[in-house]
């Protein structure tokens, strides 16, 4: 898992590339926690083809951290396998998902 930090329209974007699984969850959580400490974050998952429950836990923690800090947390570019996991687990109802970064930025504003 590689995580690159960038900004778009004044919003912090975490670009994730790789599998979000048991082996990569801890490092991903540390990075998202750090980014969320100073504002909202949009997680771009376009290059994430796989998310397991360990990954879902990371995203749930991030969403909770954002909410308690009064910030936004959303995801972008869910791949079919990832979308399936989001829908089964009900995450599509608790984490805003957008097709593109631009839509997520507009949603966050």
């Amino acid at each position: 898992m590689e995580i690159t930090e960038t900004t778009e329209g004044g919003q912090k974007i975490a670009v994730l590339d790789g599998r979000l699984d048991t082996a990569t969850a801890a490092a991903t959580e540390a990075k998202l926690t750090e980014m969320l400490a100073s504002g909202g974050v949009i997680a771009d998952l376009s290059a994430v083809r796989y998310v397991s429950s360990a990954g879902l836990r990371v995203l749930l923690k991030a969403a909770k951290q954002a909410k308690s800090g009064g910030h936004g947390f959303s995801v972008v570019g869910l791949q079919p396998a990832v979308r399936e996991v989001f829908e089964i687990s009900g995450f599509d109802k608790i984490i805003p998902a957008f097709a593109t970064r631009a839509e997520a930025v507009a949603g966050a504003g």
Partner: protein, 142 residues
């Protein structure tokens, strides 16, 4: 257990660690590619294998390894995960409330729920050798 790269059956035994789960996924991905298993199906198979293995890695006190066997039989993928931890049937776990609000969502139980939903069949047994064994089948067609 030895590997069987040409027999069509993947056999893998790994020590308990988060890194081992990464190794398991790498090997399953390569196996799925060799056997021309559609990506959506391979992804479900990986997820089921990871969730069962991760459960052992995180919760099975005293276990020393987990072993995964995967095979394709016609239009089905067959998957078995064994470990030498204390007797525990992950399928007995209650499902989380997927309608709860964000504040009330508890991250526990998600893995087992994914296993139940993605498998056509899932069966637990405590073997005569004193191992936990979870056997699943998934539809091989996309």
């Amino acid at each position: 257990m030895p590997d069987s790269p040409d027999g069509g059956i993947l056999r893998l035994s790994l020590p308990l660690s988060a890194e081992s789960v990464g190794v398991l996924l790498d090997r399953l991905e390569a196996w799925a590619e060799t056997h021309e298993i559609p990506m959506t199906v391979a992804s479900r198979m990986n997820l089921v294998a990871e969730e069962i293995a991760a459960n052992v890695v995180m919760h099975a006190a005293g276990a020393t390894f987990f072993a995964v066997t995967a095979a394709r039989a016609g239009d089905e993928i067959w998957l078995a995960v064994e470990d030498d931890g204390p007797a525990y049937d992950p399928l007995s776990r209650a499902e989380p409330d997927t309608d709860a609000a964000l504040e009330d969502r508890d991250p526990g139980g998600l893995g087992v729920m994914l296993v139940r939903r993605l498998c056509a069949t899932a069966r637990y047994e405590r073997t005569a050798e004193g191992r936990n064994r979870l056997e699943c089948t998934l539809a091989a067609g996309a």
